[in-house]
Amino acid sequence: MASIWEYANPRKFMATSEALLPWTVGLAAATLGVGLVWGFFFTPDDFRQGSTVKIIYLHVPSAVMAINVWIMMLIASLIWLVRRHHVSALAAKAAAGIGAVYTMIALLTGAIWGQQMWGTWWEWDPRLTAFLVLFLFYLGYMAMWQAVENPDAAADLTTVLCLVGSVFAVISRYALDFWNQGLHQDRFQLLDGESDVSPVFAVPLLICIAGFALVFVALVLYRTRTEIRARRLRALLTQERLA
């Protein structure tokens, strides 16, 4: 059987991802479309929050994904560190931009929601703060990729950074379990039996989360391809110069 590591070869990856990309894009668009339309137009308003509750379909998926993306970057970076697969490092680089945008969406929607719910745009509770620090790590991570000339050195250095930032990713997910304080919504268990969110909201929300995840997969494939092409271009230019 072919080893999974074959896909770490850029050429192999380009071929496979080319075949996969249309499907992922289609699936992502469909899932996200269904989830958002369902959530926005076919769910009742909340008795307490009115139509504001619909922000949930943007806020929760983007917040969840913002953290997941960082964890994915961590895994990709570690693969680079251990096995020196270039595609893996480039995937981490490609994911950072998406993760940062998700984080920003979560921050913005959270702020708007907070303005409605808590009467303030921002609160300094542990989870929100850790999340904001995570955003800073996204920025620093991208700046680091920008600043270092040599791609291999950049990959190594950003890996170190990614490792350190993971602490804050974990805190922004589990802060409430540690400190059990703060204004922010408790972690609700969408999947276990006694969900505290009525299924009317939960099902479209789950679809939205899946949609955001698929959008991420599609974008990351796309951006990784772009990164590979950029490296390829660089190699070709160098080759031409040397010829």
Partner: protein
């Protein structure tokens, strides 16, 4: 202590500059690296010194045996000549700087701030630094730049002394140094291609 280099490929950034480099230096022998601008002398010396990892091949000599002196010399402008030398001597684990000062006639300059030296005086200081490292293999990149004739002769004497003590010297230069030794033209090994291990290179059309 012999320096053996076998089938070495060296590069800078994405580019492989030299490939298949091989030579051996017995104790007491010098090797002069020659080659036109951009042929890869500096790259080879940096790789020997352990500053750049080789692309392929083997270097037979502990990196702790090698002292490197390149274009930038690690001299602190705010410290005096003697303080600069003492620092490097202490890092190398001993304290005698008098021999090195003498070898390059720095005695009269030893209390001067290094920032107030002329180009040639600075160069002498960085050559003196080599002597205090006490390492057997010297890798020198254009060591006589800015030196006048008298000091070039001093440098040749220092090299001769080092070889006489069983040391080895690898020297890249464009001009004649009068230190004897074999000459190696690095352009023989010119590769100037992408690194062979670059997965983004090669023909992708297939």
């Amino acid at each position: 202590m012999t320096l053996g280099v076998h089938d070495l490929s060296v590069g800078r950034g994405d580019v492989q500059v030299l490939t298949g480099v091989g030579f051996t230096c017995a104790p007491g022998s010098a090797l002069v690296l020659r080659g036109p601008n951009g042929s890869g002398k500096t790259t080879l010396l940096r790789t020997l010194a352990g500053l750049t990892p080789p692309i392929a091949g083997r270097i037979e000599a502990a990196p702790e045996a090698i002292a490197y002196a390149g274009h930038s010399d690690g001299i602190k402008a705010q410290m005096t000549v003697a303080e600069n030398l003492t620092f490097w001597a202490r890092i190398a684990g001993h304290r005698d700087i008098a021999t090195a000062l003498d070898a390059f006639d720095l005695g009269s300059l030893s209390e001067r701030r290094a920032g107030e030296l002329s180009a040639g005086q600075k160069r002498r200081l960085s050559l003196a630094r080599l002597m205090v490292t006490g390492r057997p293999i010297w890798c020198l990149d254009e060591p006589t730049v800015s030196l006048d004739t008298e000091n070039t002769a001093r440098f040749a004497r220092a090299i001769a002394g080092h070889l006489g003590r069983g040391g080895i010297a690898i020297v890249a230069t464009h001009i004649d140094l009068g230190i004897g030794g074999e000459t190696l033209d690095v352009s023989r090994f010119a590769a100037q291609s992408l690194r062979p291990d670059d997965p983004f290179a090669g023909d992708w059309s297939a």
